[in-house]
């Protein structure tokens, strides 16, 4: 992340905060320096936007702002922030106080933004957001449906604070909840507050967080607080954005947890593929320690809590709690075969409280506002909000935070903006490789997203991956993709997962290759149920879910592959071919011009024909035909 230069809030200038009153004073001092009406330019510097060039945009802004003539006006501040969440539109720039939203900003746009928008309050149409099909563009970030329909509790600071500036977090009440817990609450009261919020683990299994803390606090001796930031589900990036955009909320949550369970030692297990998160976290921990908000004698209360970052080595299995702890101990990251909970005997055989990044990030606001406030969001059995990584065949790709119990259709259409390319929605995959496909809207009209409801339809909440699939998605191929992923990521210790999954992959491979046999579906179901019952760890006991749920809802697609040797969605290349419907074709010639192998022939305004011997099924004609005359046969 880019270091801040303008907001003179670097902790090196202040001495350690030695009381909770001192923290409040420091906050007031910072707030006094901060003018809410002063112009402020927020540039998203999350991993996605950085890849799209946002670092250069920030540099350019700095360069221009220094060189511009301000004539006594307040010089705008530029703030590189964490992920704003609207990743498909990056790099994103938001200009306060007007809340002007610009998308896909490049270095070349910066001069114009400063001259027109910042200096003269003039809008630049081409950078503004327009909803799919809408004529009018939207000026304010808060009016864009993607943002307006979200409820941001966990993500509230992201996009508004510079994660490398602890002062930014403190202005927005960072560490106030820790101060409250340390001085006004007993550990038991903290646990009771968390229990009353009915917060459930956001890592996937949904175990009640308060209950976990309570059982950890009951143990004797040295205890550890561990944060699971080994986010590995394909397409999921909630934890990464939290760590990159608001690391102090997570650290504060961990510190509160440590106080509640009686621990003084914390570990953050981050996957090594998140270099920016590791860097941001390192800075955050250093700054918090310099201010006395972490480390020894926090805020003069006598409470110690140190956090160490440990990086993984690229194994998906290390997201499983016992494998994570083994890896943390320096051993091979394999789940341990013991029927003992890690709150009793975990890391180094000591009681260990392990929670997910998002779970910890929820804690400060629960302590600050109370469990009842948190419970007012969401449903009875699934309280609060959940961050989802919305991806796949949907207009708006990015992070969305919604209250539990929201309708899935509302997420896909209301927030996600629906399915692009005039395709129909076929289903939504939730929960990553351990989850399942939900066949909305055809077989299940809609469901309310919550732990129980998702389990009912054969999927899981998981860590929050949400992949939208359109009618061009082959469900057999989806199942094959996830099984293939798990075959590679299985630790290989136990027979059902190692051998069972390999055989499932073998069967799915042959089905998608057109060599499926009668009885293969039943065999898949048989092995799937077996691996779910007989495997050693959580990965194995949920590994068959993608296969079982696709068979449950899309059995006819499997049957078409096996019996008719057809892939109805037109994905498995050996099982379909394209034909141009002569009744629909207008002879516009678009397909002919797009075809990379010149397999399409036909004169202008006459029906075109595909030469099957040349066609390599690249989908170009199918995707581009405006009249949908290219058919999958």
């Amino acid at each position: 992340m880019i270091e801040a230069t303008q907001t003179a809030l670097t902790p090196s200038e202040v001495t350690k905060i030695m009381s909770t009153e001192a923290l409040a004073e420091y906050r007031q001092k910072l707030q006094a320096q901060y003018d809410p009406n002063a112009p402020m330019i927020y540039v998203c510097c999350g991993t996605g936007c950085q890849a799209a060039g946002s670092v250069d945009v920030v540099e350019k802004f700095r360069e221009i702002l220094v060189g511009s003539a301000w004539d006594g006006k307040v010089v705008p501040m530029i703030k590189p922030t964490g992920c704003h969440g609207f990743c498909s539109r990056g790099p994103l720039v938001i200009i306060e106080p007007q809340d002007i939203f610009y998308q896909r900003v490049t270095v070349n746009d910066v001069q114009e933004i400063v001259e027109k928008t910042v200096l003269n309050n003039e809008l630049i149409k081409r950078l503004q957001y327009k909803s799919a099909g809408a004529k009018e563009s939207i000026t304010k970030a808060s009016e864009i449906p993607y943002y307006a329909k979200q409820t941001r509790l966990v993500l509230k600071n992201i996009g508004r604070v510079n994660p490398t500036e602890i002062g930014d977090s403190i202005i927005r009440n960072g560490y106030a909840a820790l101060a409250k817990a340390l001085t006004q609450m007993t550990p038991q009261q903290v646990i009771d507050e968390v229990s009353s919020s009915k917060l459930r683990g956001r890592g996937g299994a949904g175990f009640p967080t308060g209950l976990k803390w309570e059982s950890c606090a009951k143990q004797e001796g040295l205890r550890y607080v561990i944060c699971n930031a080994d986010e590995g589900d394909p397409g999921a990036f909630m934890d990464r954005s939290l760590l990159e955009g608001d690391p102090h909320s997570v650290l504060e949550g961990m510190a509160i947890c440590a106080y509640a369970v009686g621990s003084h030692r914390g570990y953050m297990y981050v996957r090594a593929e998140y270099p920016l998160a590791v860097k941001t976290l390192t800075t955050a921990i250093r700054q918090a320690e310099a201010l006395g908000l972490l480390g020894k004698n926090i805020m003069g209360t006598g409470f110690d809590f140190e956090v160490t970052i440990s990086t993984g080595a690229g194994a998906f299995i290390c997201g499983e709690s016992s494998a994570l702890m083994a890896s943390l101990e320096g051993k091979v990251g394999r789940p341990r075969p013991k029927y003992i909970r890690s709150v009793e005997k975990g890391f180094r055989d000591s009681p260990s409280n392990l929670n997910n990044v998002e779970t910890y990030a929820n804690i400060p606001s629960i302590i600050a506002n109370g469990g009842n406030w948190y419970k007012s969001y969401g449903t009875e059995r699934s309280s609060g909000t959940k961050v989802f990584a919305l991806t796949g065949n949907v207009f708006n790709i990015g992070l969305v935070e919604v209250p539990m119990g929201i309708s899935l259709m509302e997420i896909v259409f209301g927030i996600g903006g629906g399915v692009p390319n005039k395709r129909a929605l076929k289903g939504v995959q939730t929960g990553g490789p351990s989850g399942g496909c939900i066949p909305i809207p055809h077989k299940i009209p809609d469901i309310n997203v919550g732990y129980g409801k998702l389990a009912e339809v054969g999927s899981i909440m998981g860590s929050g991956g949400m992949i939208v699939m359109d009618e061009d998605t082959c469900m057999v191929e989806v199942a094959r993709y996830f099984v293939n992923f798990l075959v590679e990521e299985s630790c290989g210790q136990c027979t059902p997962c190692r051998e069972g999954l390999t055989r499932m992959k073998e069967i799915l491979d042959r089905i998608t290759q057109g060599d499926g046999r009668e009885g293969d579906i039943e065999l898949l179901e048989e092995i799937g149920k077996f691996t779910n019952n007989f495997s050693l760890c959580g990965l194995g006991t949920s590994a068959a879910n993608p296969v079982l749920s696709t068979i449950r809802y899309f059995r006819e697609e499997y049957e078409a592959h096996i019996r008719d040797k057809k892939c109805p969605a037109g994905v498995c290349k050996k099982l379909f071919h394209y034909e141009i419907d002569p009744d629909i074709c207008t002879g516009c010639g678009l397909c002919k011009s797009k075809c990379p192998v010149k397999a399409i022939s036909g004169e202008k305004k006459k029906v075109h024909v595909i030469d099957q011997s040349l066609c390599m099924k690249c989908m170009e004609c199918y995707k581009n035909c405006k009249f949908r005359s290219v058919k999958i046969m």
């Binding site: 194994a315 299995i317 091979v332 075969p337 013991k338 029927y339 003992i340 075959v487 590679e488 990521e489 299985s490 630790c491 290989g492 210790q493 136990c494 027979t495 059902p496 190692r498 051998e499 069972g500 390999t502 055989r503 073998e506 065999l523 048989e526 092995i527 077996f530 019952n533 007989f534 495997s535 050693l536």
Partner: protein, 271 residues
């Protein structure tokens, strides 16, 4: 210690708290098949063959008998149709990997495994981890499981000839599919994994008879553990047979000194 009331396959029995299901079953004459279990080693629960159904507090679940500690009253079904079906699949899957194992062949008959469903992989190792756990208990560093997923395999560090092996042969003895072997060639002990040499350990020559015997490092290790005073020094360079013989001679001499009857070594038996 608390006594638990357990219903084991419909029969009421009592168990000690913390006892594993496998121990309880063995005490009560109920056979549960295992592949990766050895009473001498920490259970690894890798083969999953000993999976049984446990109903605790109204909740039924599948657990492995070798390492599930009983903590409360429960009902256990070691041979229900679901359990048998799962075991059958494990055997079918492992037989595809290692068709030559007599133990698996026996189980395949018992569980009526259909051996035609999965194509043969002929990998010859069932990845039970017994050798690696036995090795860990003795040397701690020679054999371990490397790789992951289907690529998981028993290996020395970086698949090189190990410097840590003491040639004890524990891995050879414990392997249920006989894929680790040991041979003494020209004063060296070789451990072979799938026929490939993974360790070469020098053997000492016996001072008395001149034959090669048990590996040097092995003795050092033993000396190390026992403390030198516990082992008579000559034994370190004498083979077990000669040691026994020498000791007998020594004892015989002492007997002669006391009672006056002793025949020197090599003398023909007159009686």
């Amino acid at each position: 210690m608390r006594v638990l009331n357990i219903i084991l396959n419909g029969k009421a029995v009592t168990a000690r708290e913390g006892q594993t299901i496998l121990e309880l079953a063995q005490e009560n004459g109920v056979f549960i098949p295992t592949l990766c279990h050895s009473p001498a080693l920490e259970p690894a629960a890798m083969c999953r063959l000993c999976t049984v159904q446990v109903i605790e507090g109204g909740r039924a679940k599948f657990v492995t008998a070798c390492n599930f500690p009983l903590r409360r009253d429960a009902e256990i079904r070691t041979d229900s149709p679901e359990v048998r079906h799962g075991r059958k699949l494990i055997i079918e899957l492992l037989m595809a990997r290692c068709p030559s194992s007599p133990e698996l062949q026996r189980l395949a008959v018992e569980y009526e495994a259909d051996l035609t469903r999965f194509s043969s992989l002929n990998d010859d190792c069932v990845v039970c981890g017994l050798c690696t756990r036995a090795c860990e208990a003795v040397t701690g560093k020679t054999l371990s499981l490397a790789g992951r997923g289907t690529a998981i395999h028993v290996s020395t560090a970086f698949a090189k000839i190990s410097d840590f092996c003491i040639g004890c042969g524990a891995c050879v003895q414990i392997c249920p599919v006989q894929k680790i072997s040991m041979e003494d060639v020209d004063g060296e002990r070789h451990i072979l994994l799938h026929g490939k040499i993974v360790s070469q350990v020098k053997l000492p020559r016996c001072k008395s008879c001149g034959k090669y015997f048990g590996p040097v490092i092995d003795l050092e290790k033993v000396m190390d553990r026992m403390g030198e005073h516990l082992i008579p020094p000559p034994n370190a360079d004498t083979c077990p047979e000669c040691s026994r013989h020498n000791l007998a001679v020594k004892l015989g001499k002492r007997y002669f000194e006391q009672y006056g009857v002793f025949r020197e070594e090599g003398q023909a038996d007159a009686g």
